[in-house]
Symmetry: C2
Subunit: 467 residues, 2 copies
């Protein structure tokens, strides 16, 4: 951890974890910390603000910083990915099995009954209104390949709030983020090309590499900083990499928020090696505090393709995403036209209205608190698991990454858990080379109702992490 | 024209065209025709029933067959496609220009105001109801890769009525027919493979060949019988063809309904040469009289992949299609999952309800009459064009195929027409080898309101087909 504020942050976190300061207790004042650690006021404030953003401390006006009652992170996973030569990708059939259970993001295999959240009712009303506005022979026309201008306009305005000034004509609407990633890879790679991916990294990307006949090379990614730039540099020197796929905002499964220094270094490397950079931005809108800027905002060479969708932050059932194709934009438009012609206009108009009237922003504000609570509850539960467990502590996204004891095999755990009505996502799905056998991705996308807590307890017993 | 009923049919059509029998007049009786032409009663009745299905004659109980007042087909186009060796495909940028105008199926470049048809209002209500039924955390789940079971069930029931007993688990829901064709080609071909296509044939298929790096070989297709089986046999003997794409029901642009004999021969050839047959069935539900059976219904070897959607018969804006992948079904499911995860469940449920309560069947019955009227009106208008024009007379679909005089260049016509606010689809878009420069596809998908008749008149002047 290079920076001085990071050193202070770690020291304070460690102290809270070891109960040097209890929940509700005041931390040393800024002045004390400056003196004690020989740091500038700016550095100390930076570290404290980061702890505040994490929910570990809270600022009380004129009193200082106090330890909150939120759980303190247990040990973080130490990703020790091996770097292996690029290779064709083969994804386990297991993933299809999981997807068939529609359950990649829940411990339970089926949707649960209950009330639809208010912000989703509002969304559906917007879509319903757009449907009722159809007139004349609208239904006999295809949407233009780039998608409905009103929705692109709203997405551009949303991007601007994250420091990324994009115009609607630089965007293309897709059927979700997976579709955007597919278009991106089709546009900038040819069969046999080498693509660098995060390890552990999103299985959907690995599947795409497999289906498009691309070779993958894994670059280690930590749960704190994301893709390791030293490792990437090493990989780029050794093999002819055409594209690099990263998820700088709350990557799945690790949940890292890539620091700005890494981002700048990534773009410098991309420039030197003439890479296409594909940014999977799908989790950005789930940020628990401020929404991070996209990597794309730093892209001075028009070589970052940003892919995103509403699936994680709003609804999986919309099937609406977008892509900013940079220098490949025209080719991506063409590929979208050829592979599926168009998207639904009424649907795009409904979502555009939902964004325009502020409902999406309201939804995100509400959801942010809820997601943070759900993460905290999960961390608290996992805290009580009695073994040498390592768990990530993401500041956004929908899941944590668990490192279980060496001897646990999560692939066989998958089958045993399924027999007991619990769905888990085993670690090896996040690797081309079968790494992470003792790891799991575990979702906190859903409220911890009793059925889910029950599933968690059964899982604890199955992993041998019981008392 | 080999069969005796076809010879009789041609003779009668010729007589009506030459006013041997006027509109409203009675044709010779069945008994007279049997005697005069030395044919069996069954043969004569078959010919008369075909003329009735075309709308050229009508049966009056106990009185015989009478000539209707509908227009008699003007000369049919004589497709004289050249067969050239397989080649990589390059599609004109013009097509993207047309698609950007959202106008491949209208003479006018923009949707028109007015009331939405009643059956579309009903459809939208069904979708709206499905939206309002969302509950609990439905929105956090992806649809299963094959698509919503209720919709697959309805599509299977609909298929059964056309003589094709398919089960829901043999179907996969897609984002429209173009998406289905894409999945089909991805599943059964590899880069560099040769694919046989109809000529003239659907430009969307040609674009797919281009983007997937496949080679195309054109097989002549007539406006009456579709793909020429002698030519296909010839092609198969000369080149290693992997797949053949046909549209047996009202192919675009020719509009042919492939006769059963051709269908059986196609399947025998496919068996002998181990072809994948991709059936584009998208126009079947627009049939003006009985809905034709799909080619797939005759498929005894599980080698016909049927692709279709609701875009032509119901709404372009639904973006819902389906594919029956035959022996490639599992691979197609996987490809769908990888390239776009899932489809919208509420939307599929809404459409399933619309089909289940009979609204879709009602819609098709109404639309059938309207489409036939619109085709007739177009043929009547074209009848008055004073030159040597050849026009197809399809019994389904949304467009006719026009052969203009040799000297007309429809590619330059496209630009001139656009300046006058008219969009046409030039013939060369329907060929890999730039054939059909003097041809056009012309749509009758829309009512002939005054603006469209005006556009038609401007087009007539531009083609030099004025008086």
């Amino acid at each position: 951890m290079g920076y001085r504020y990071q050193q202070l942050e770690s020291w304070l976190l460690q102290g809270i974890r070891e109960h040097r300061w209890q929940a509700g207790e005041r931390l040393p004042s800024i002045r004390e910390l400056c003196r004690q650690k020989a740091l500038s006021k700016a550095t100390v404030m930076h570290a404290l603000q980061r702890l505040e953003a994490m929910g570990v401390v809270e600022a009380r006006p004129k009193s200082g910083y106090f330890v909150t009652s939120l759980p303190v992170p247990i040990k973080a996973p130490v990703v020790q990915a091996r770097i292996a030569a690029p290779r064709p990708v083969t994804v386990s059939d297991l993933l299809q099995d999981i997807m068939r259970r529609s359950a990649a993001f829940d411990l339970l295999p089926m949707p649960q009954a209950g009330e639809l959240p208010a912000s989703l009712v509002t969304l559906n009303r917007s879509i319903g209104r757009a449907l009722r506005r159809q007139k004349g022979n609208d239904y006999q026309y295809y949407d233009e390949p780039a998608g409905e201008p009103a929705l692109r306009e709203q997405i551009a305005q949303h991007a601007l709030r994250r420091g990324w000034p994009v115009t609607p004509d630089q965007l293309c609407i897709t059927s979700g983020c997976q579709h955007a990633l597919f278009l991106a890879l089709m546009a900038c790679c040819e069969r046999g090309d080498v693509v660098a991916v995060e390890s552990p990294g999103f299985y959907g990307v690995l599947q795409l590499l497999e289906q498009l006949g691309l070779q993958g090379v894994e670059v280690p990614a930590s749960c704190e900083q994301g893709m390791n730039m030293d490792a990437l540099e090493d990989v780029l020197q050794r093999w002819p990499v055409r594209a690099c796929i990263v998820s700088p905002a709350f990557s799945t499964p690790g949940g890292a928020l890539m620091p700005e220094a890494s981002r700048r270094r990534l773009l410098a490397l991309a420039s030197r090696h003439d890479l296409a950079v594909i940014e999977d931005d799908i989790y950005a809108d789930t940020a628990f505090s401020d929404m991070p800027d996209p990597l794309k905002a730093l892209d001075g060479e028009d070589r970052v393709i940003l892919c995103s969708s509403f699936s994680k932050a709003l609804s999986r059932d919309l099937r609406l995403g977008w892509i900013a194709g940079a220098r490949w934009h025209a080719r991506i438009l063409h590929l979208k036209l050829v592979t599926q012609l168009a998207s639904s206009r009424y649907l795009q108009q409904g979502v555009a209205d939902y964004m325009a009237d502020g409902s999406y922003a309201t939804h995100l504000r509400r959801q942010r608190l809820q997601l943070r609570d759900q993460r905290d509850r999960l961390l608290r539960e996992l805290n009580s698991w009695s073994v040498d467990l390592r768990v990530s502590r993401p500041e956004g996204g929908l899941a944590v990454w668990l490192e279980l004891p060496e001897q646990v095999d999560t692939l066989s755990l998958y089958h045993h858990a399924l027999e007991q009505g619990v769905v888990v996502t085993p670690g090896p799905l996040f690797s081309i080379t079968g790494q992470y056998r003792n790891c799991l991705r575990m979702s906190f996308a859903h409220p911890w109702r009793s059925e889910r807590l029950g599933a968690l307890a059964r899982l604890r017993a199955l992993t041998g992490c019981g008392d």
